[in-house]
Symmetry: C2
């Protein structure tokens, strides 16, 4: 008889580009989301949770990477052959929700949303296909006071989650100013306009001279590769340079420079006026340039922005994977997008909003040692006599009722060493031991595992004798003694 | 020239079987998840968040509906043609995670997880394709003390989220007892065994006589349709009946009845012994039958359970969509599944856990009026003079700094009535008004919208005159007066 071939075992593997989060990675994120939600709520925004799945039709072609429209989502066909996809951000679903419920929602509609989004993109180091966003948007407010408010809220939020003033800056620009500059340059071709925007985005990296080269014939980059230029004449490139170098310590001077750069462009003038208004509103509330500043080099990749754009950058340096110092960079971005709802309804609805990359923000706080310090496992009640499990479970019940995190060891109790190894792996502060003798004498042994570890590491034999880390107490004093030890290490 | 045909507008619609959650629906769920996580954490469980996406290979064929294996997931192929799918529960990902990281994880591994899961099933009323689960599992604990602990934790959790004792019961059974009964009956055919289990599951509905009919030739149901029977002889059916009627107010009598029902089956005897042990452990901690009870009619659909099974049922009645009274039913279930990890590693790993259907639990609490009462919108500062937006934003900044939820009206301010309608729609407690006169006089008008609504509804003209709902106060007393009104309605 032929041997029946067994199916191979499935691989236990996270899918490529995805990851699992354990313990404090999960709880620290939950805590941050809660803190951000509190700020958003305080500002008058209401919660919305749309489904993770949308019709591809509703998501549209707005994936926030201009170079690859209509790609980058995880999509499938449902039983009626309709295409469905996982949301790639929280803004496209908001546009759908607002269009769908617009007759019932208040106007303006101010909502916040938080949750994972999915991108079908090539994964890389620190770059996953599922990550959290945390957005707030005001739909139906044409006034740039809405944009100013979002910038202020972004600043407040960053400070609330633990980024001190000075370690971040919210930078504000306006797409209309950029469009005005393009108009002043005589650039009308869309592809060429996109090339110019991409070049502006490189200003931080290549500086004024580099931008000049890239706008003209091209440039040899550091690696020796030749980067083709946009092909503008030097005269034509002048407004871009004027624009990029417009930022001045005196904000009034910045605006004067911007007005020079846009020449006679009407759209450009509108953009500068809006920026000035945002600047004045923020100044009136004392948001100075130590928190929020006008910065003409902010572009933001998204094709759909139509007015003010902003991003929050962390200004401190970290070491990258190769040990080189670099700026941490952007953790949040947003802006005004007046056309997203129009796709559904035909009516333009002004909207503005911000998205915080929560995972990057958490990484920054961990990098700076501001979270992720102390991990505390449960008090572990060990099992010396497996027939007295009910007694051990009563002990943990007492501890829990006193608000102390606790558990009975539920593995195979035969090897006592394994129980202490388990407590060690769980980073337990205390182990409780009650064998037959203790039970007969009405006492329990309580082991201070934190002190025990310190002694094991540092102490001399003399010190070790003087500082016992294990105590015998009457059974009735179990909770009090455990509490005492926990308070000692708090 | 031919007219260019415009692409039709996308439909603004939630995909079929999905829904959006607004405002308090979101925050009440977040609050419940937080509360449940606190109980789980207190019991020593650590957080785990696996990705929403798994390989189909890793998910396997364990979808918790025995009738439809290998169906019911949302799946697609990635760029390497590998099949990926959205998780349909939180247990399958746990098995994958445990198998993948088993060398680094503590043993036992106690984890909790919460988040949405997705089912590609026919949607129905109250039945969605995305819903939240909230699980806790102990992997690597063979002792049924682990199961007893989970039952106790489930009871604690339900009370902590607001289901009072008496309004729920956790019912416990053991698959091994069921298998013992099948053995005593001489049922060895798997399909027939499944038919018997399904019949047992109907005991609550059709009673003893109904089960007798369904185990034998069949039965005419209330609608007049004939339901085919399993085709057992009366003698063969006897152990099932003995089993189903074994529950007694005296738990010792229940166990004696169960031992009769399983006859000489060894696996059955093991099951009864395990149930007794669980019963004793829970009794030692004073979890009486008002909270947790042994109930032989609990089956649980999942094919993968191998030992103790449990479910939490809410015992109060609600009105269904047709206005008929019915029991609210199950909000949580779980049990022991010793074979899930084996799929990956070849080694059996004992595991037990529970899953709470958070959305059903929220529905129950809303039904009983225990959540969802009071909604409070933000204080709305109206815009009387759009050129003084900075002043209005300063007012909301003051209010927020005092911990009061507040916002400036950001819609078109031209029609003042729209601003008050907006405040009404947001369920705002207070509106602030500062026109030119007020500004000149250094005062603001503060409107108590809650009192205003009460007066509008009930008061006579006399009362209306005596109880003003609008106050003029000096600008400097804005925060104090708003606070006073909020406290009045707290």
């Amino acid at each position: 008889m032929a041997k029946v071939k067994k199916a191979p075992r499935p691989k236990a593997q996270t899918p490529k580009g995805f990851r699992d989060y354990f313990g404090t990675e999960v709880t620290e994120r939950a805590h941050m989301l809660k803190t951000i939600a509190e700020v958003y709520h305080q500002y008058g925004f209401d919660a919305l949770e749309s489904s993770a799945v949308e019709t591809v039709e509703a998501l549209g072609k707005f994936l926030p990477d201009v170079d690859r429209p209509n790609e980058g989502v995880f999509a499938w066909q449902d039983e009626d052959d309709a295409w469905m996809a996982l949301r790639y951000d929280l803004t496209a679903p908001l546009a759908r929700v607002y269009a769908q419920y617009r007759n019932d929602l208040p106007l303006p509609y101010r909502r916040y949303a938080m949750g994972p989004v999915w991108r079908n993109e090539k994964p890389g180091p620190g770059r996953y296909r599922q990550f959290y966003q945390c957005d707030a948007d005001t739909v139906g407010a044409a006034n740039v006071a809405a944009d100013a408010e979002i910038c202020a809220m972004l600043s407040d939020t960053l400070e609330r989650v633990g980024i001190p003033r000075g370690d971040y800056v919210v930078r504000v620009n306006n797409r209309k100013v950029l469009n005005g500059v393009l108009e002043a340059m005589g650039v009308t071709d869309e592809a060429q306009a996109a090339d110019v925007l991409r070049t502006i985005d490189k200003f931080d990296k290549v500086g004024e001279a580099g931008v000049r080269e890239l706008l003209g014939k091209g440039r040899l980059d550091a690696s020796g590769a030749y980067i083709d230029g946009v092909g503008l004449s030097e005269d034509q490139a002048e407004p871009v340079i004027a624009f990029l170098t417009s930022k001045d310590a005196d904000v009034a001077k910045t605006f004067a420079n911007l007005r020079d750069a846009i020449g006679s462009s009407a759209i450009g003038a509108e953009g500068v006026a809006e920026l000035e208004k945002i600047g004045n509103l923020l100044a009136a509330q004392n948001y100075g340039s130590d928190r929020i500043e006008i910065d003409p080099s902010v572009v933001r990749g998204l094709g759909y922005y139509t007015g003010p754009v902003f991003e929050a950058e962390l200004t401190f340096e970290i070491l990258d994977e190769k040990g080189r110092k670099r700026q941490f960079g952007s953790v949040s971005g947003g802006g005004r997008y007046d056309d997203l709802v129009k796709r559904f309804t035909g009516q333009a609805v002004p909207a503005t909003g911000v998205s915080i990359g929560v995972d990057r923000l958490l990484a920054a706080l961990r990098e700076k040692g501001r979270i992720g310090g102390k991990v505390t496992g449960p008090v572990v009640v060990t099992v010396m006599d497996k027939d007295r499990m009910a007694d051990y479970q009563s002990m943990v019940a007492e501890l829990r009722n006193a608000g102390i995190r606790a558990e009975v060891y539920l593995g195979n109790p035969k090897n006592f060493g394994n129980q202490l190894k388990y407590a060690d792996k769980r980073q337990s502060p205390v182990a409780v031991i009650e064998g037959g003798d203790e039970h007969a004498n009405g006492v329990v042994q309580i082991k201070d595992l934190i002190l025990g570890a310190q002694i094991a590491e540092n102490a001399t034999l003399e010190e070790w004798k003087e500082r016992p880390s294990q105590y015998e107490v009457p059974r009735g004093e179990l909770v009090a003694k455990v509490r005492e030890i926990l308070d000692l290490h708090a």
